[in-house]
């Protein structure tokens, strides 16, 4: 389906998509619409956000069963390079065993259980336990068993390190600890095709920024704050959209099974904007100034031309910026790609944005503490194909007491996260003192959060009700 746009259909800063793209077809993957996700509100018990029994069950039923992004291929560029991927109390060694071959091992010595590796490493030929010296090569086969004579009848059971399944897509190395899991390709479904159609190959992107924040809330609390954009009106009131209260409220949610995406309403849509957005710009110039954070005591260097909208001006600016990176190839992209075009949420915890938006999130529980989590933020920058790609950014790890603005490489995003993260400890504390005992997720704006909890219920075995919450209620 090819769709072009007209100026009169301009809607907002992000999703008005006319301008210079008359000759570029509207991206077919964005034109694809799925049936509306089932309507209605969803009530979710608060227990799952803080009680240890849920955390323990999540380890068994989600983290030991799901495909999950462990690292980027370029983080382990040479044979023998390895990355330690940790989620909750689980730890895996992800190692490159060939030019395009990867393996993942449970990071625990088969002798006395010591972690085989504490840190990421380079060019390993073997993994030797630093307790008593049992050793396996990077292909998982045992090469040395000091004191082996003293362990009669055990050689067979320790001959190979236990493995997790591995797979790759877009430069991401995935693992799945479940030996009976479906292939990664089946799990992702048509997702890779969408990124091909977007001309947005993550395998060619450069991980320019990687920040790892340690947050005082459950991983689901943090993640859900980024599953919907309805909070922007209250939590980020400086991000004026407009004019009018359309913008995100006009987006649509498409359910692809293990993943959901938010896509802008099509240029040909005649949908009616939904109320509830809350803030609106008073002028087209305000749209630009809020986007780039020019305040009232300074002069904006980006002026909206006569007759243009703020959204058009932003997209023109982004197009010219990206021209400095990939040259005139930027003209092969429709305007809808300039700001992103879509946000994708892959079960259980990966969130790549679309187009040139660069953003990529991941959320994980932190060790055995249901009140803490890890949030990865990456900026996956475009890079010209005719030049060698820079090495990926080292992970900038922030401690529990550090503000995220101490990662200035995030730019304006760090300030925006200051607002998001300010909510999270209070959400975590508020859930624990909730008399109501459940939260309510809306039919439209919070559809992706409902979708995610529907998947959660399925993976946790709660399709017929949250039996852990029911047990608690019976006490």
């Amino acid at each position: 389906m090819e769709t072009t746009t007209t100026p009169s259909e301009s809607r907002s800063a992000d999703d008005a998509v006319e301008v210079r793209s008359h000759e570029v077809p509207y991206p077919p993957h964005l034109a694809q619409e799925m049936p509306p996700y089932r309507p209605g509100v969803k009530r979710v018990p608060v227990d799952r956000f803080y009680k240890p029994e849920y955390h323990e069950l999540e380890i068994e039923r989600i983290w030991k069963k799901s495909w999950q992004w462990a690292c980027r291929e370029e983080q382990i560029p040479n044979v023998g390079d390895y990355h330690i991927y940790e989620v909750a109390n689980l730890s895996f060694i992800v190692v490159r065993t060939g030019p395009q071959a990867f393996k993942a091992y449970w990071n625990s010595c088969l002798h006395r259980g010591r972690k085989l590796c504490e840190f990421h490493g380079k060019r390993a030929t073997e993994f030797r336990c630093m307790f008593h010296g049992w050793t396996w090569n990077i292909d998982g086969g045992m090469t040395d068993m000091p004191g082996g004579w003293d362990f009669p009848g055990t050689r067979e059971e320790v001959n190979r390190l236990p493995e997790a399944k591995t797979g790759t897509w877009g430069g991401f190395v995935f693992i799945n600890p479940d030996p009976d899991c479906e292939p990664l390709e089946a799990f992702l479904g048509e997702l890779p095709k969408h990124y091909e159609q977007a001309g947005h190959d993550y395998a060619k992107r450069w991980a320019q920024v990687h920040v790892l924040a340690n947050l005082a809330c459950n991983w689901k609390v943090a993640q859900e704050a980024f599953l919907e954009a309805w909070h922007v009106g209250t939590t980020h009131p400086q991000l004026l959209r407009g004019p009018g209260d359309r913008a995100v409220s006009g987006d649509r949610w498409d359910d692809f099974g293990n993943w959901m995406r938010s896509a802008p309403a099509l240029p040909t849509d005649e949908h009616k904007p939904k109320p509830g957005w809350g803030t609106q710009a008073e002028s087209e110039q305000q749209v630009v100034d809020s986007r780039f954070d020019f305040h009232l005591n300074e002069t904006s260097p980006i002026i909206v031309p006569e007759g243009a909208t703020g959204g058009e001006t932003i997209r023109d600016t982004l197009r010219e910026y990206n021209r400095t990176v990939i040259g005139d190839a930027i003209d092969e992209y429709h305007a809808v790609h300039m700001g992103g075009g879509e946000m994708v949420h892959i079960w259980p915890n990966i969130h790549p944005w679309g187009g040139f938006s660069r953003l990529l999130y991941r959320f994980r529980p932190y060790k055995n503490d249901p009140d803490r989590c890890l949030m990865d933020v990456l900026l996956m920058a475009p890079w010209p194909e005719d030049r060698p790609r820079p090495p990926p950014a080292p992970v900038h790890e922030l401690g529990p007491d550090q503000l995220i603005i101490e990662a200035p490489e995030l730019g304006q995003l760090a300030k925006i996260f200051m607002q998001d993260l300010a909510n999270m400890p209070y959400v975590q504390e508020g859930l624990k003192t909730s008399k109501q005992g459940y939260v309510i997720l809306s039919s439209h704006h919070e559809a992706p959060v409902r979708h995610w909890h529907d998947l959660y219920d399925k993976w946790m075995g709660f399709e017929n009700g949250d039996y852990l919450a029911a047990q608690e209620g019976a006490k």
Binding site: Q208, R291, A381, M418
Partner: protein, 118 residues
């Protein structure tokens, strides 16, 4: 603009390297104006003329206006970015001619991120 003209684009960040004005924003829905006073304090003025001063984390300090949106207080009076890091994330600085990918000045500014010792 051709590939050879890549550097013709002028970035907007770094406009006030030595003398950045105090921040001032308007919350158009609440009809209030937020002004940074320094030292983490923010003055809020409602359209009806009432004013209040708040700490950037939210507590009221003085004035007839006693309630304000804490997220606007954070934005206006909370810790701020260095001026050369005010970029929008879609425009994080890139220099395709440098092996690090970052413009030279950022290699000094953000050595940890670029992989050099701080």
């Amino acid at each position: 603009m051709s590939v050879s003209d890549r550097k013709a684009f002028k970035p907007y960040y770094g406009l006030h390297p030595n003398d950045r004005p105090l921040r001032k924003y308007r919350h158009v829905a609440m009809k209030q104006t937020f002004e940074e006073l320094g030292d983490g304090l923010v003055k809020v003025t409602a359209d009806d003329g009432r004013t209040g001063v708040f700490q950037w984390r939210g507590p009221h300090v003085e004035g007839e206006l006693t309630q304000a949106n804490v997220h606007m207080l954070v934005w206006t009076g909370g810790p701020d970015l260095p001026d050369d890091c005010r970029f929008h994330w879609i425009e994080t600085p890139i220099d395709v001619d440098r092996p690090s990918g970052w413009p030279e000045e950022y290699e000094k500014r953000l050595p940890y991120v670029i992989g050099r010792s701080a």
